[in-house]
C-alpha cells in the first residue's frame, strides 16, 4: 500500500497538501508525487531509523512529571509540511511588521507610556500584567533591542487564512528541532527536498550569534557572549547545548557567573573573564535574586544592576512578558496602527477580554462555543476547550472567570488546518491538525525571519492540542523558494 492511498481529508479544515478535489495543491505537485510513490513498509522503515538516530544522538527533552529524569525524543513525522513561496512572502512581511510594533510597544511601556495615556491600550491591563516589571521603567537595554528572539505561533483557518495565535517574546524554544528535522529530511528524502526547492534553515545559529554580537556594549570582535541554561534537568536542555555548540559559545549556569563593579564575569580555570552578552534560557524571575526573588538562591546577584548600567546585554530583555500577555494580544493590531500608521498585514483570532464587562458577559454565556485561556499559563495548560468540555468543567471555569476576570481571555475555536501525517497503526497517512512557529531574530538592524519554522502536529486523532507535553509532535517545515 502507498502512504496516501487511503487518505481522506478532514471535513471543515484546510488541508495543507491537497486541494479539495483530492489532487495536490498546484505549488506542491512535484514533491507530492515523490511522497505518493512511497510504500507503507518503506516509510515505516525510514521512520524507525530516524527515531533511533535521534535517540542515540540524545536529541531528547526531559519529562517534568517524571522524577527519574526520563528523557524522550520529541515525536515527529517524516512527511513535511510545505509552505508555498507566495504564502511565505505575505507571512514574512506580516511578522516583521508585528515585531516592529511590539518592540516599539515595549520601549513605550518601559518609557513614556504614551499608548496608555492616549488610551489605545487600557493602562490597567498593562500594569496588571504578570510580566510587567515596573522597576525596569527607564532602563534602556544595551544595543537597544528587547525582543532578540521571538517565536510567533500561527494557525490557518478553514479558508486557508493565516492567523496569529500567540506571540512568544520571552524564551521561545523549539528551533533546534527545526534544524534537526531538516538534517533528517536531507538524509532520508534528498530527492523530494530537491524537487520542492526549499529554503535552508541551518544558518540560523550563525545568524543568532551575529545578532548577539550586534547588541554587545563593546565592539563585536571583543565580545564574549554566553548561553545561560538552568541546567540538564530543564526540559529544553538539549536545545541549550545544541545552540551553544552550533554557535561555539560557552554554556554557563548561574553559579558560573558573578557581578563586580556592575560588570558580569564568568569563573574560569584561568580566573575571571568579562561577559558582554547573555543569551539566557532561564526564566527572568531567576535571573537576579536581588531584584526578583529574595527567597531564591538561584540566579546571579547584581545582574540587573549590570544590565541597567548598560554593561551587559540580556537576550531576551527582562520585562517582555507584558507584550506577549494573552490579555494584551487583542491590542496588537491597534499597536501596529498606532506606532506604524499601517494596517496589520496578518489576521489574528477574535478575542474576548474578560476584564471588559460586555466581553465577560458574552463569554460566560457561550462557554460551550469558546476556548478559554488563562493569560499567565502556557504549554496548553490552564485552558478550557469549551466545545469538548463537560458541563462540570465549564462551571468550574465560569466561577474562575467571575472571580479573577483579568486572568482570562476567550476565543472562538478555530478549526486548525490539517496536514497528512504518518500514523503507524494504519500503515498510512491521515490528516492531523497543525500550527506553525516561525522564529524571528532582531539585531540592531531590525528583524529577520528564518524561512521555515516549527510545525507542531496534534498526533492524537481529533485533538487540537499540539504541545509536546500533551501528545504533540513536529514536522519539518519546507518553505519553497520563489
Amino acid at each position: 500500500m502507498k502512504i496516501f492511498e487511503q487518505y481522506a481529508q478532514l471535513a471543515g479544515t484546510y488541508d495543507e497538501l491537497f486541494a479539495p478535489d483530492g489532487t495536490p495543491r498546484a505549488a506542491f505537485t512535484k514533491v507530492a508525487e515523490q511522497f505518493a510513490k512511497l510504500s507503507a513498509a518503506d516509510f515505516a522503515r525510514a521512520q524507525a531509523l530516524a527515531e533511533l538516530t535521534l535517540l542515540h544522538q540524545g536529541v531528547t527533552f526531559s519529562v517534568y512529571s517524571d522524577s527519574r529524569g526520563t528523557e524522550k525524543i520529541f515525536p515527529f513525522c517524516l512527511i513535511p509540511r510545505i509552505i508555498a513561496a507566495a504564502d511565505w512572502a505575505r507571512l514574512e512581511r506580516g511578522i516583521v511588521q508585528r515585531m516592529t510594533a511590539l518592540q516599539l510597544f515595549l520601549d513605550d511601556v518601559y518609557g513614556e507610556q504614551k499608548i496608555m495615556r492616549d488610551e489605545r491600550v487600557p493602562a490597567e491591563l498593562v500594569t496588571g500584567a504578570a510580566g510587567y516589571r515596573p522597576m525596569l521603567r527607564g532602563v534602556k537595554p544595551a544595543g537597544g533591542v528587547r525582543i532578540h528572539i521571538a517565536g510567533i505561533d500561527l494557525i490557518r483557518d478553514p479558508e486557508g487564512t493565516w492567523r496569529v495565535l500567540e506571540d512568544n517574546l520571552r524564551t521561545p524554544s523549539g528551533v533546534s528541532y527545526v534544524i534537526e528535522n531538516r538534517v533528517i529530511s536531507k538524509r532520508i528524502f534528498p530527492r523530494a527536498l530537491d524537487a520542492a526547492r526549499v529554503h535552508r534553515v541551518d544558518h540560523y545559529p550563525t545568524r543568532l550569534a551575529e545578532m548577539l554580537r550586534s547588541v554587545s556594549p563593546v565592539a563585536a570582535e571583543d565580545t564574549t557572549a554566553v548561553v545561560l541554561t538552568p541546567g540538564p534537568y530543564n526540559s529544553a536542555y538539549f536545545e541549550h547545548t545544541f545552540l551553544a555548540r552550533m554557535m561555539g559559545l560557552e554554556l554557563v549556569q548561574a553559579p558560573d557567573l558573578f557581578v563586580e563593579r556592575d560588570q558580569v564575569f564568568v569563573k574560569t580555570t584561568r580566573g575571571p573573564r568579562r561577559v558582554h552578552v547573555i543569551y539566557r534560557r532561564t526564566d527572568e524571575t531567576f535571573l537576579d535574586p536581588e531584584v526578583f526573588r529574595a527567597d531564591s538562591v538561584l540566579g546571579v546577584p547584581g545582574l540587573m544592576r549590570a544590565y541597567a548600567a548598560g554593561n551587559v546585554a540580556i537576550a531576551n530583555a527582562p520585562g517582555n512578558g507584558v507584550a506577549d500577555d494573552k490579555a494584551i494580544y487583542p491590542f496588537v493590531p491597534d499597536m501596529i496602527r498606532y506606532y506604524l500608521s499601517e494596517e496589520p498585514a496578518l489576521e489574528q483570532v477574535p478575542t474576548y477580554v474578560c476584564l471588559r464587562d460586555d466581553d465577560r458577559k458574552y463569554v460566560v454565556e457561550h462557554l460551550d462555543q469558546l476556548v478559554v485561556k488563562a493569560v499567565d499559563e502556557a504549554g496548553g495548560y490552564g485552558m478550557l476547550m469549551g466545545p469538548q468540555a463537560t458541563a462540570a468543567e465549564r462551571d468550574e471555569f465560569r466561577a474562575k472567570i467571575e472571580a479573577t476576570p483579568r486572568r482570562y481571555i476567550a476565543q472562538p475555536r478555530v478549526e486548525l488546518s490539517a496536514a497528512p501525517t504518518w500514523i503507524p497503526d494504519r500503515g498510512g497517512a491521515a490528516p492531523r491538525r497543525v500550527d506553525l512557529r516561525p522564529y524571528v531574530l532582531t539585531s540592531r538592524e531590525g528583524p529577520w525571519v528564518l524561512p521555515g519554522g516549527l510545525t507542531r502536529v496534534a498526533l492524537v486523532e481529533g485533538s487540537y492540542v499540539v504541545n509536546s507535553s500533551q501528545g504533540g509532535g513536529s514536522k519539518d517545515t519546507w518553505v519553497q523558494k520563489p
Partner: protein, 316 residues
C-alpha cells in the same frame, strides 16, 4: 575555561576510564579462573579488594565470594558500588550531558549508546549468556570514545582536563591492582606455574601482556612485572607513564611560569610525585617495599585530585 565545565570534563574522563578498567579486570579474571586451577575466592576476592569495595560487598553478600557470578554481578551492575560498570557509565554520561557543547558529537553518541544499551534487556541477556562479549562491548565503546575524543575534539583545555581525569584514574587503578596482586601472589609460596599464570593474568588485565613479553623475552617474575608496571615509561598504563603524562597535561593547563594563575599548589605536588616515580623506575629503593611505594602513589594521587578540585574545579 569555566571551572564547572572543567570539573565535568575531569570526571567524564575518570568515569570512562573506570568503566573500561572494571570491564578489563573482570574479563581477565574470568579467563584466569578458567585456567589456573585456583580456588574461586583466590581469583575473585582481589577484584573487589582492588576496587576498594570489599566493605560494600561484604555488607551486602557476606564474605560469600561464590564462583565468580556474585562478584561479577556486583562489579557490573551494582548501582551503589562506585566502580561498577553501570554506575561508571551513568556517571560518564551524566557528566558528558552536562557539557554537551564541549564533548564532540561522535564521542557523546558513543557513550550515550553504551548507556542506552546498559539500560536495555539485551545487555542483561548478553551478560548472563556471554560475559566475554559483554565486557568486550563495554571496552570497545569506552576505548572508541577515548579515541574519538582525541581525533574529533579541539586539543585545548577541555581535552586536557578529560585526559587528566583519565590519567589520574589510571594511575591509581594500576597502583591498586599491582599492590593487591603483589601482596596476594607473593605471600604464600605457590607453585611456579600457578604464580606465572597469576602474573600473566594481571598483565592481561592491564593490556600489558605483549608489551611486557617484548621487554622481558618471556621471563616472568614478580619483580620484573612490578618493575614494568611501575617504571616502563613507554607503556601507557604504567605508573611512570600516567604520572608523567598527567604532569604534562597540567603544565599545559597551568604553565609553571604563569605564577598568577590558580593551580600552583597542585602543579607542584604533581611535579614532586613525578620525580618520586621517576627515581624508582628500576623498582623500590632499598628498605622500601613495593607495597609502601604503591601506597604512596595512591595516597598522593588522591591528594592531588582534592587539591585540583579546590584550585581549578571550583569546589568552594
Amino acid at each position: 575555561m569555566i571551572s564547572r565545565v572543567a570539573d565535568h570534563c575531569f570526571w567524564f574522563g575518570r568515569y570512562v576510564e573506570r568503566a573500561e578498567a572494571t570491564a578489563r579486570l573482570l574479563a581477565a579474571t574470568q579467563s584466569l579462573a578458567l585456567d589456573a586451577e585456583l580456588e574461586p575466592q583466590a581469583c575473585w576476592r582481589p577484584v573487589v579488594v582492588v576496587s576498594g569495595e570489599e566493605e560494600q560487598f561484604v555488607e551486602k553478600h557476606g564474605a560469600e565470594w561464590g564462583d565468580g557470578e556474585r562478584v561479577q554481578d556486583f562489579m557490573a551492575w551494582d548501582a551503589d558500588s562506585s566502580v561498577s560498570i553501570l554506575r561508571s557509565i551513568r556517571g560518564a554520561r551524566w557528566n558528558a550531558r552536562a557539557i554537551r557543547e564541549v564533548v564532540s558529537l561522535e564521542a557523546w553518541e558513543t557513550i550515550n549508546e553504551l548507556h542506552l544499551y546498559l539500560g536495555h534487556d539485551d545487555a542483561k541477556t548478553e551478560f548472563r549468556d556471554h560475559k566475554e562479549a559483554f565486557y568486550k562491548r563495554v571496552r570497545s565503546s569506552t576505548q572508541l570514545a577515548l579515541g574519538l575524543l582525541r581525533s574529533t575534539m579541539l586539543h585545548d583545555d577541555a581535552l586536557d582536563f578529560i585526559w587528566l581525569g583519565v590519567l589520574l584514574e589510571r594511575t591509581s587503578q594500576t597502583a591498586r591492582i599491582l599492590d593487591v596482586h603483589h601482596h596476594a601472589f607473593t605471600a604464600p609460596k605457590r607453585h611456579e606455574v600457578v604464580e606465572t599464570a597469576l602474573w600473566l593474568s594481571l598483565l592481561r588485565s592491564l593490556s600489558g601482556f605483549e608489551p611486557f613479553m617484548k621487554q622481558n623475552q618471556g621471563k616472568v617474575t614478580s619483580d620484573a612485572v612490578a618493575r614494568f608496571l611501575i617504571g616502563e615509561e613507554r607503556f601507557p598504563r604504567s605508573i611512570a607513564y600516567c604520572v608523567g603524562s598527567s604532569h604534562d597535561r597540567l603544565r599545559r593547563i597551568r604553565p609553571p611560569e604563569e605564577r598568577s594563575l590558580p593551580g600552583g599548589l597542585t602543579l607542584e605536588r604533581l611535579r614532586v610525585l613525578d620525580d618520586f616515580v621517576t627515581s624508582r623506575r628500576r623498582g623500590p629503593e632499598s628498605g622500601e617495599t613495593v607495597h609502601e611505594l604503591l601506597t604512596h602513589v595512591v595516597d598522593e594521587t588522591s591528594s592531588i585530585c582534592d587539591s585540583l578540585g579546590k584550585e581549578l574545579l571550583g569546589y568552594g
